[in-house]
């Protein structure tokens, strides 16, 4: 891995791992998929490609946050905000 990107990639991995704790389908499942996704790309050396992958990772962070929030909102709404018929 090119040195300037090592920090970024590790930071990305840690952030995704942290978010994965709230993953709706289970944090263990998420952790597995995350690790294999990162391992798959571990030999990439082209700086452009690395940048693109990191950018994709950052998009994934936003997606995960939205997904976890939506799931929580749905469950809370169902339990606490049912309008009486």
């Amino acid at each position: 891995m090119a040195n300037p990107f090592r920090g970024q990639v590790i930071k990305l991995y840690r952030t995704l791992l942290y978010l994965g704790r709230d993953y709706p389908q289970g944090s263990a499942y998420f952790k597995e998929r995350l690790k294999s996704a990162f391992m798959k790309n571990k030999d990439v050396t082209d700086p452009d490609k690395i940048q693109k992958l990191v950018a994709r990772g950052n998009c994934l962070i936003k997606e995960l946050e939205a997904m976890c929030f939506l799931r929580k909102y749905q469950v809370m709404k169902k339990k606490y905000c049912q309008t009486k018929k």
């Binding site: 946050e65 905000c81 009486k84």
Partner: protein, 254 residues
Amino acid sequence: MSGRVLVGVKRVIDYAVKIRVKPDNSSVVTDGVKHSMNPFCEIAVEEAVKMKEKKLIKEVVAVSCGPQQAQETIRTALAMGADRGIHVEVTGKDYETLGPLQISKIMAALAKKEEAQLIILGKQAIDDDCNQTGQMTAALLDWPQGTFASEVSLEGDKIKVVREVDGGLETIKINVPAVITADLRLNTPRYATLPNIMKAKKKKIANMKPADLGVDITSRLEVLRVDEPPQRQAGVKVETVEDLVSKLKEAGLV
């Protein structure tokens, strides 16, 4: 005008966890179970932080009562933007019997000590579903209350609260200082990101005991028994519409 807001946050079993009752029916299994901040408390913190960002108030203080682990919940509030935290330490048997009455006494004492202008709480906790702490706190302080708030706006020295009630929406105007309890649609709480959690480690969390505030936390309630809800009966399949109608008639539903 202190411009200070107290936000109460509670550490509860995570909303997504399947709850298990202990074999002796004394309580729910909490050891090794994932805990997080009560979702309604998250909404309360978010509202306070938004007010601070709009420069309507000066300081957000996150308060939690419980054992050491309650500090994690305060840290999450700090990561979301609260300025400092207060951890009221309650452990063991006292913690098991800690309920809305005791919390509201603590919040009232803190509100006086910190000269708070506003207390924002979640409308209820997802573990006990009491929906009492906000109301009791307001009563103890003799402050007005805006409960089930789905919209809050400060207008000078008054607060306009839109409340979600069974009949629809009710808009009220109350004086400051006041107690607000947050309902689901008040806002969308921000995620406490990892970098913010790291930064939040620098923020202060004060430690104290209920006795330091002159609060008596003995409970007036005793939990006799905890049971799981009755198992859902399996459905019955029918072949024809006539069968369905006769089954409904049997059950006295038609």
